[in-house]
């Protein structure tokens, strides 16, 4: 009899322990030019469908309105998109115009986003820069922060369904909702020079992180230079400070937009701006230095 009791107790214990270990469901799919993954508790898996269709719908809205605007500058985008466009102003101010929602006017001369790639003549670049500064004949592209906005909207969809913990990750631009049962969400920041290594691991709860790098979308020019997808809208050239910039913020849109904006300004300027905005930053400079600014260390795994 005592043996039986022991067995029963043991079974209870196992069930109880398993119960504590909440299991999660992750769905991965291709959207917004990258792989998106949505992770929610197994019991809330139904919400994934809604979050996913939200992402698809908003991606289409951004694409359609951007294309219509680029064909006809007098086109009035739907409210959510025109609000998104006007929020781009903040990044232009932070960078003294180096960031622009019109920088595609110059990057498309190089063949971005899809090729064929080439190095344009200086005269073409000058014309493009002129057009950007006057706002005429421009090509708009919200890619620097629209992905972040869409991640935030997917998270809102998940929150509205009453789900307390989730992660939505769009190619490294992600939001961590709530926490896991036993700990915060953990995010590794990739080493730009070795993709099997990480330069930092951070803990997030109801916060977003995004990274911009020079190592994912680029081409090699005939003269041997590597040209990547981020351009300074005042020079028409790649910025030369970093291999990667990561930003922690309270929304994915802000993390996403600032990671591109900070890419365009030097470390001293980044330090001043992130202090004002209260957004932790991790810089990996072109000479291989790792700089942790504005409280980044506080988020690192203990």
């Amino acid at each position: 009899m005592p043996k039986l009791l022991a067995r029963i107790l043991c079974c209870f214990l196992i069930v109880a322990l398993y119960g504590c270990k909440e299991s999660y469901k992750t769905e991965q799919f291709y959207a917004m030019g990258t792989f998106v993954s949505i992770t929610v508790p197994e019991d809330d898996a139904d919400v994934i469908v809604d979050a996913r269709s939200k992402i698809t719908a908003l991606e289409a809205a951004v694409k359609v309105d951007t294309e219509k605007f680029n064909k006809n500058p007098r086109y009035k985008p739907r409210l959510a998109i025109s609000e998104l466009i006007s929020r781009g102003k903040a990044y232009e101010l932070i960078t003294d115009g180096r960031f622009s929602i019109y920088s595609a006017t110059v990057s498309k001369l190089y063949g971005f986003p899809e090729g064929a790639y080439r190095v344009p003549e200086q005269a073409e670049i000058d014309t493009a820069l002129d057009n950007i500064s006057r706002g005429t004949n421009v090509t708009m592209d919200l890619g620097a922060y629209a992905k972040g906005w869409i991640v935030d909207e997917a998270i809102n969809e998940i929150k509205d369904a009453g789900v307390k913990t989730a992660m939505v990750n769009a190619g490294g631009d992600l939001f961590a909702l709530g926490k896991r049962p036993d700990r915060d969400w953990r995010v590794a920041i990739q080493d730009p020079k070795n993709n099997r290594d990480y330069i930092s691991i951070i803990n997030l709860e109801n916060m977003a992180v995004a990274t911009s790098g020079d190592y994912e979308r680029f081409f090699k020019a005939q003269d041997g230079r590597t040209i990547f997808h981020i351009f300074d809208a005042t020079t028409g050239q790649n910025p030369e400070y970093y291999h990667s910039v990561s930003v922690i913020a309270s929304t994915t849109e802000e993390a996403d937009g600032l990671s591109t904006a900070f890419f365009l300004i030097n470390p001293a300027e980044v330090r001043a701006k992130c202090k004002k905005l209260n957004t932790p930053v991790l810089l990996y400079t072109v000479n291989g230095n790792i700089m942790k600014l504005c409280g980044w260390e506080k988020f690192e795994k203990k």
Binding site: M1, I14, L17, Y18, G172, W185, Q190, R196, E216
Partner: protein, 114 residues
């Protein structure tokens, strides 16, 4: 009912054994997946090459992991990303909407920001 020392010993041993077994399952499980646009399928870890019809793509699989061996995508980033062997490793070919991921029950982090 009175419990003897022997009962307590049994409880302790069984608890320890079940805990050990659980932890082992949690950390030991490693699964390789291929994501092809919207479908995600598990790839068995055994020596072979998989050739896909998305243009020209060859994935080399071993008992340890897998890698993109050949691809006609422009920057060959997926090839440079090398072997997908350890928990959380990924290799992604964005132009072809392909990715290899190694998922484990328990890993050091939940996501990578890149």
């Amino acid at each position: 009912m009175k419990k003897s020392k022997f009962d307590i010993l049994i409880i302790a041993v069984l608890t320890a054994a079940s805990l050990f077994f659980m932890l082992d399952v949690q950390s030991g499980e490693k699964r390789l997946y291929l994501i092809d646009k919207n479908t995600k399928e598990e790839i068995k870890l055994e020596d072979r090459d998989i050739s896909l019809d998305n243009g020209h793509v060859i994935i080399q699989v071993t008992s340890e992991g897998a890698r993109f061996l050949e691809s006609d995508c422009p920057n060959r980033i997926c090839i440079k990303q090398g072997w997908v062997k350890n928990c959380g490793d990924t290799a992604v070919c964005v132009p072809k909407h392909l990715a290899l991921v190694m998922e484990c029950k328990e890993q050091d982090y939940d996501a990578i920001s890149q």
